[in-house]
């Protein structure tokens, strides 16, 4: 049967592809690399909240509006996610800086580093929120 596709179409279809994401078994280091990028992406837009908060601090009414948002369940959820993304991205950044020196690439070392990254970010986020909620409760 004659191939009716044009030559460029055939060339594009038959060009071999290098192995891509979906054929690899998911590994923690790979997942954490993806999460590092996703948290960075999220933090990018999170700066809008920082800009809002800093500009709201100028007058009481604007600050009250921000506090209302930050105290709402959706606001709390976003801020909790923002805290975790910030800490996770920071610890991931430290991991990458260690890797930049050529250290920590051994089979057990790299697994230890990504596990410490994940456990550390969750633990620090929880501690920060407990401290934060206690600080808010204490002043009221």
């Amino acid at each position: 049967m004659a191939d009716t596709r044009s030559l460029p179409e055939r060339a594009a279809a038959e060009r071999p592809l290098s192995p891509h994401l979906q054929i690899y078994r998911p590994m923690l280091t790979m997942m954490m690399s993806i999460v590092h990028r996703i948290t960075g992406f999220g933090l990018y837009f999170g700066t809008l909240l920082l800009a809002w908060w800093l500009n709201a601090a100028v007058n009481p009414n604007a600050y009250a509006k921000f506090e209302w948002f930050a105290g709402s369940w959706i606001g709390r959820l976003i801020l909790f996610g923002y805290t975790w993304a910030l800490i996770h991205h920071m610890l991931g950044g430290i991991r990458h800086l260690i890797w930049d020196t050529g250290r920590g690439f051994g089979p057990s070392e790299r697994e230890w580093l990504v596990a410490a990254n994940l456990i550390g970010s969750i633990a620090i986020t929880l501690v920060l929120w407990i401290v934060g909620l206690l600080a808010m409760g204490g002043s009221r």
């Binding site: 990028r37 800093l54 500009n55 601090a57 100028v58 600050y63 990458h96 800086l97 920060l128 204490g138």
Partner: protein, 130 residues
């Protein structure tokens, strides 16, 4: 272009910088700001926690005090630079359509400068009471 073997522009040959020496600029700045962001983020998180539960007047006073204001501005400049480069890498990795890529790269520059300036403006307002 007297020598046809050269594909460089005359200006590039006169400057004599080879590959312009800017190939690693983003790589380096991403790490430079990453290093700066670590202590800055820790201090900013501590500042944020001390501000929790305080009213607007107290928050404005603390944020506007010289040391805190300077740290906040440093934090913003460093993180905004970091995230501009980071988002550029993401766009270049995933957006292959040339016009869409160019539009997003422009949007990235506009967004980061606008948000960065808005943050700095808020802090300067608190510091100088403009």
């Amino acid at each position: 272009m007297s020598n046809p073997k050269h594909i460089r522009t005359p200006l590039a040959r006169v400057l004599g910088r080879g590959a312009a020496r800017s190939g690693t600029k983003h790589f380096w700045h991403q790490r430079l700001t990453a290093i700066a962001n670590i202590p800055l983020t820790i201090v900013v998180v501590v500042i944020l926690i001390t501000l929790l539960g305080r009213n607007q007047a107290a928050a404005a006073q603390i944020l506007g005090s010289p040391a805190v204001a300077i740290i906040m501005v440093l934090f913003i400049v460093s993180t905004i630079t970091h995230m501009k480069i980071g988002m550029q890498v993401i766009i270049e990795d995933y957006v292959h359509d040339e016009s869409a890529k160019l539009s997003l790269l422009i949007a990235n520059t506009f967004f980061t400068i606008a948000v960065g300036l808005a943050c700095v403006y808020g802090i300067l307002k608190l510091t100088f009471g403009l």
